[in-house]
């Protein structure tokens, strides 16, 4: 495609639409949900709307597969379909499927009746998908906002719970602040290089002289994105927001938007060859791992515990960003995938055990779960073991690839911090396992049988976690090919 001609030609080409096909599909289905909602009987509507959204996200998966056959740039070089974007599209759509399946029964149990819930999930997915294919900073910003605004609202969906509104408002205020940082960084980057296209910026920065403004721009963008992935020291919102938001939403926002933001970070850090990358990430990764794990040690609320754990995991993931591109990119992609699988699964279990109004979310409520619901306890145990990083779960290879990538870049100090942190982390995950299996329940807290939707969601995430742990080769090879593509 000749870019000069395209610029002149204001009407987009048909091929352009293929480049954003999954986003179009998701948006259309989101709108269908919005339109159907008022037309339907109040009591019946929940499941039907959920099913429409589910079909939408499955259709997005198909669209992604279709799109993968037509790689290339679109919309005046603003989006690019490559194996990297396809990877993250697939991940976002898969997480969306799992989250919608989890939400089915959650919404019913909570008595939340709102069709726009599913629409917002789909709109959020639009933003997240777009983030991974956008190669232009302003478009990335717009995509980031689409995804963020959806999650702000989703966080406040337990309307009767004050804590949920608090969560939503807190997330919104701090999140807007962070996006402003990002935008400021974009502006400075434009000032430094004269472009907002990642490819052009990359060429400009590689050509030799790096202006001071570029360093500032990278740092500010990193602040904004660091907030979104809950990396320390921009992490303080995480525990409160995760505690208040509905559990399936936490499962969603701790995985899909994070994956998308990591995709953006990968593009900025590696494709644009951001200056000052290594030391910046070194510090933030070390801080996130340490503060996240230390914070998690003292938590009694399972959702808060996993919030701190997600901060720590953002830290492990960032370690890969400090490594060399050809090892770091595949390692980061693999980590994002396996983290998404295990975390969305863990929150699916938590949202079921929580019961009405999410009453059962403290460690005490999990006492004797091994006896009350052996299957759920076993599944949650596998997710927790994966979060620890025990072999034959995806979490093990995720850590393995990240740390070996860092070792190959001679970041021995960071690896040592990471390994020590993993040892500390095993304590609090184990604590939950111990509580489930080795304590008797003080009072019999009922656990409802596993409904079909949740069962499917768990099967998908469990299957993915184990698959990544037993046969990591295919996913890693795919990710490695992507890195090779970038290196050109």
């Amino acid at each position: 495609m000749n870019s000069a001609n395209d610029m002149a030609q204001v009407i987009p080409h048909a091929a352009d639409y293929v480049r954003i096909l999954p986003e179009i599909v998701l948006a259309i289905f989101g709108m269908i949900v919005m339109v159907l909602d008022p037309l339907m009987d109040e009591r019946r509507s929940q499941r039907t709307l959920g099913t429409v959204a589910l079909v939408g996200s499955l259709a997005a998966l198909v669209a992604t597969l279709f799109q993968s056959q037509y790689p290339g740039l679109g919309f005046w070089n603003m989006v690019r379909v490559d194996s990297f974007s396809v990877f993250f599209h697939f991940l976002v759509a898969a997480v969306t499927v799992v989250v919608i399946l989890t939400s089915y029964d959650y919404m019913e149990v909570q008595g939340i009746r709102a069709g726009e819930y599913y629409a917002l999930v789909l709109f959020g997915a639009v933003g997240m998908s777009l983030m991974s294919s956008a190669v232009e900073l302003v478009l990335i910003f717009i995509a980031l906002e689409i995804s963020s605004i959806s999650t702000y609202i989703l966080a406040g969906f337990r309307r009767r719970a004050a804590i949920s509104s608090e969560s939503s408002v807190k997330y919104f205020l701090l999140g807007s602040f962070a996006t402003a940082f990002f935008l400021y960084g974009v502006a400075l980057m434009f000032g430094a290089t004269g472009s907002t296209s990642i490819t052009v910026i990359g060429d400009a920065l590689r050509s030799g002289h790096i202006p001071v403004l570029a360093y500032l721009g990278v740092a500010l963008m990193f602040v904004g994105l660091g907030f979104k992935v809950a990396a320390a020291p921009f992490h303080v919102w995480t525990p409160d927001v995760y505690e208040g938001a509905p559990s399936p939403v936490v499962g969603f926002m701790s995985t899909a938007p994070k994956a998308a933001v990591f995709a953006v970070l990968l593009r900025i850090m590696f494709e644009a060859d951001a200056p000052g990358r290594v030391w910046l990430i070194w510090v933030v990764a070390a801080l996130s791992m340490t503060l996240g794990n230390i914070g998690a040690l003292v938590q009694d609320n399972v959702k808060r515990l996993l919030a701190y754990s997600s901060i720590a995991h953002a830290g492990y993931l960032l370690v890969a960003f400090a490594a060399l591109p050809n090892n770091g990119i595949p390692a980061a992609m693999f980590y994002t995938t396996s983290y998404a699988a295990m975390n969305v699964g863990a929150f699916a279990v938590i949202s079921h055990i929580g019961g009405k109004d999410e009453r059962y979310v403290t460690l005490e409520d999990y006492e004797g779960l091994g006896r009350r619901s052996p299957l759920l306890a076993a599944i949650l145990t596998i997710f927790l073991l994966s979060l620890i990083g025990i072999p034959i779960t995806g979490g093990f290879f995720a850590k393995f690839y990240v740390f070996s990538a860092a070792l190959q870049a001679n970041l021995v100090g960071l690896v040592i911090i990471g390994v020590l942190n993993s040892a500390v982390a095993s304590y609090y995950y184990l604590r939950l396992i111990v509580v489930m299996y080795m304590r008797e329940a003080r009072e019999e807290v009922p656990v409802a049988p596993i409904p079909l939707g949740l069962g499917t969601a768990l099967a998908i995430s469990l299957g993915a976690t184990i698959y990544l742990g037993v046969l990591p080769g295919r996913v890693l090879d795919y990710a490695a090919r992507t890195a090779a593509e970038w290196a050109r």
Binding site: I392, Q408, L430
Partner: protein, 504 residues
């Protein structure tokens, strides 16, 4: 000899238990059927594992029954399994003890029976895997995999302070194995393979860059992981807790097999990969082993709790193994391997007899008993037989190994042999003293008058151990002729080292 059966034997023996465990998942909760099925699976595995020694090519060095398939291409991980004389017998020890564990848990486990036997079978697979894995990654995987079922067995089915003991056990070994993982990853980064044989060859041929600088740390990384498992003296504090709180079957496998993972690791990896560092660090490891022998024995002597006494006796006995390994003599290593097997049988049996008593009285306190020989004569006989085997009475299994270890240690340095020999005396003291307090004299407590003697099932669990203890004592060559070539291979670099020193 390379038939299809030989090639798949190790895979079968390793994974049959876990396959049985998965089938158990589908069983309805009828406890009797579950127990029977677990027994059948573990017996089947035992019978199959006997194929290994029967068709083992004695006198041949290197690994046998090897399988080597690519598992994951990046990182380069192979499904590489194989056994030599040492690991083969440890596999058979595991498969031998597991059916006995099922028998001994028949009645004592009456809640969550299904989960118990599933965990037991999963644990068995992991234990066998540790001994047969020849790929460092596979080894690490099985090594860690033993932790979870064992910790759950202790934590769910144990006694009062079970949770504390389970968590302590888990954290201790988990943290220690992190060091080993770091060492493994370093080796992988430099050699591009996890394969034990290839790494060993690369190190011997000097193809690993920066090896000289890193080797002492790598040696320590492996050593710490194994030393905690053995346990070598200052790392032993998890063991008494774990043993006292574990259910009987857990203790049997813990003492019988799990501890051997540590000594096996020392022999296979520390000696196999780092002969020079083993040589230079041997003196302080020998000292720790001697401290372990004497300290374990002295502490065992004053224990009021029978199970704790046996636990400390394990520390003492395992000290012999470490002493034998780091004597770098043929007899010492032969003896060390033999002690591993003998200790597995006799200490496993000791925990079983202690468990049998606990089932009847729900206490391990020695003072609660006395004069038990009167109400339980058969039990007393078995107990005495096992105690004598453990003490090292000639013609029983304990004697052979300890004798070989001590003569090896003596050859290395006389003072090691002399100090180590006191351990034999101590063990006679604490075990026989305990026996006297529990069985001799008049029955001190009325409840003990009416204790039932051994049931048929309990006899079925004890007879095999007694028989094997006797056979091992009378015909040790059956075992040693397979162990010998493996030990020679392990010692080959030391002979070269010695000749290098002499040549200089």
């Amino acid at each position: 000899m390379s038939t299809a059966l030989d090639n798949s034997m190790l895979t079968l023996v390793t994974f049959i238990p876990v396959a049985g465990g998965i089938l158990l998942l589908l069983f309805p909760r009828r406890d009797r059927d579950i127990r029977l099925f677990a027994l059948v699976v573990s017996l089947l595995d035992f019978v199959l594992s006997l194929h290994l020694p029967v068709h083992f090519q004695r006198g041949q060095t290197g690994f046998q029954y090897e399988v080597n398939n690519l598992w994951i291409s990046n990182p380069n991980i192979h499904y590489h399994m194989g056994v030599d004389g040492v690991s083969m017998w440890l596999v058979v020890l595991t498969t031998f003890l597991t059916p006995l564990c099922v028998l001994i848990s028949w009645k004592s486990i009456h809640e969550r029976v299904k989960e118990f036997f599933i965990l037991l079978l999963v644990l068995q697979t992991a234990l066998i895997g540790v001994f047969v894995a020849l790929d460092l990654f596979l080894f690490y995987f099985f090594w860690e995999a033993t932790l979870i079922p064992m910790a759950l067995l202790i934590g769910i089915y144990g006694h009062e302070r079970r949770v504390y003991a389970a968590v302590k056990f888990f954290l201790y070994t988990m943290v220690a194995s992190m060091f080993m993982l770091a060492a493994i990853l370093w080796l992988y980064a430099k050699t591009g393979t996890f394969d034990f044989v290839s790494i060993q060859a690369a190190i011997r041929n000097g193809q690993v860059e920066n090896f000289a600088g890193a080797a002492p740390w790598l040696f320590l990384g492996f050593f710490i992981a194994f030393a905690v498992k053995v346990p070598v003296f200052p790392f032993h504090t998890w063991l008494p807790d774990a043993h006292v709180e574990a259910p009987t079957a857990g203790s049997v496998l813990l003492a019988g097999v799990l501890l051997k993972m540590g000594t096996y690791g020392l022999l296979r990896f520390n000696l196999g990969l780092f002969p020079e560092q083993s040589r230079s660090n041997a003196w302080w490891i020998m000292v720790l082993a001697l401290i372990g022998i004497v300290y374990g024995a002295l502490v065992a002597m004053v224990q009021p709790n029978m199970k704790k006494l046996i636990a400390y006796s394990s520390i003492s006995h395992l000290g012999f193994v470490v002493l034998g390994i780091f004597s770098f003599t043929q007899t010492g290593l032969d003896g060390a391997t033999f002690v591993m097997l003998a200790h597995g049988v006799s200490t496993g049996a000791l925990f079983m007899v202690a468990g049998i008593l606990y089932e009847r009285r729900h206490t391990y306190e020695i003072t609660e008993f006395g004069g038990l020989a009167t109400p339980m004569p058969v039990y007393a006989t078995f107990f005495l037989f096992i105690v004598l085997a453990s003490v090292g009475l000639p013609l029983l299994n304990g004697f052979i190994g300890e004798f070989l270890v001590l003569s090896g240690a003596f050859r290395d340095r006389a003072v090691y042999g002399i100090l180590g020999a006191t351990g034999v005396i101590w063990s006679a003291c604490y075990l026989l003293w305990m026996y006297q307090r529990v069985f001799y004299g008049k029955v001190t407590q009325q409840v003990n008058m009416s204790l039932p003697d051994l049931s048929g099932r309990e006899r079925a669990a004890l007879w095999p151990t007694a028989a094997v203890a006797l056979v091992m004592g009378v015909a040790p060559l059956l075992w040693l002729n397979a162990i010998d070539p493996a030990v020679q291979t392990a010692l080959a670099p030391f002979a070269q080292l010695a000749s290098k020193v002499v040549g200089r």
